[in-house]
Amino acid sequence: MVTVKIKNDNLIIKVFGELDLVVAKEFRETVDKILMDKPVKNLILDLSQVSFIDSSGLGALLGRYKLVQQKGGKMSIFGANPQVFRILDLSGVRKIIPVFQTEDLELEKRRANQ
C-alpha cells in the first residue's frame, strides 16, 4: 500500500509492506500519475513501514528519481529499517538518492528549498 501527502511542491509518499514486484508497480503508478497531474517537484519517500525490498523495488525508486530530476526536483528517502538500508547501500542506490536514517523534516525542507 502507498499513501500520499502533498505539501507545497513536495510529494511525500509512504510505502507499506514489502516493496517487491507487486508494490513496486503500485508505487510507480501512484507517483507517476501525481507527477503528471499535480504541480509537485520534489519526492520525499517514507520507507519506515517497508519490511522488505528487492531489485524490483529498487528499480522503481531509481526510475522515479530520474523522473523527478527531469522536472528539476529532488528526491530523498528516509526511515529505512536496517535490512532495507543494507539493500539500498549494497545496490549503490544510496549513492544516487540521499537516504536519511530518520525523518529530519528540517533537513528535508532545506534540501527541498535549495
Binding site: E18, D20, L21, V22, K25, F52, D54, S55, S56, L58, G59, L62, G63, Q83, I87, L90, S91
Partner: protein, 151 residues
C-alpha cells in the same frame, strides 16, 4: 538439542506477481525450521524473490497464466532452492549474470548480483525457447555448529 531433520518442499504456482511473496515466505519458513540467523533468512528471501521475479518478468514476459516451480531442500545444514520456468530462456547466461546487465530499460540488472552475494552458489541452466532453472545453494550458518554441540 533437537536433531536437525532433513526436509524438502515443492511448490508449483501461477506466474502471478503476487506469488513472488508467497514463494519467499514458504522458503523462509522452511529455513526457519533449522537454527539459522535472521540475517541469513533476510538474504535468502531476497535471493528467492529475485529468481522468482525473473521467471515471471523475463521468462514469461509478465504473462500470468504460466507455471513456476520452486523446490527447497535442506540436507545436512545446506539449503538448496531451485526456481524453474518454461519461458523464453536465456541466450547468453554469462552476459545475463554480469552486474548491471538487463534486457529491460527500467531495470537495474541487480537480480543476479543479489543472488550471488547472498547465496554461496548460483547455478543457471537455460535454453532459449525452453526455459530457465536457477539453483541457489547456501550453508545455513548455525546448523553445523548446532549439530556438533548436540554430540
Amino acid at each position: 538439542m533437537t536433531k536437525i531433520e532433513d526436509n524438502c518442499i515443492r511448490l508449483e504456482f501461477k506466474s502471478l506477481p503476487e506469488n513472488v511473496a508467497l514463494a519467499r515466505v514458504v522458503i523462509a519458513s522452511l529455513v526457519s525450521q533449522v537454527d539459522t540467523t535472521l540475517n541469513d533468512l533476510e538474504e535468502i528471501k531476497v535471493a528467492v524473490s529475485e529468481a522468482v521475479s525473473n521467471a515471471i518478468v523475463h521468462g514469461y514476459q509478465n504473462n500470468t497464466t504460466e507455471t513456476v516451480i520452486v523446490e527447497g531442500e535442506i540436507k545436512q545444514g545446506i539449503l538448496k532452492v531451485s526456481i524453474e520456468d518454461t519461458g523464453i530462456g536465456i541466450e547468453n547466461i554469462e552476459e545475463a549474470m554480469t552486474p548491471a546487465f538487463s534486457t529491460s530499460p527500467d531495470r537495474m540488472g541487480l537480480g543476479f548480483v543479489f543472488m550471488k552475494s547472498f547465496m554461496d552458489e548460483v547455478e543457471v541452466f537455460s535454453e532459449p525457447g525452453k526455459g530457465t532453472k536457477v539453483v541457489l545453494t547456501k550453508k545455513l550458518i548455525n546448523s553445523g555448529s548446532c549439530a556438533l554441540a548436540a554430540n
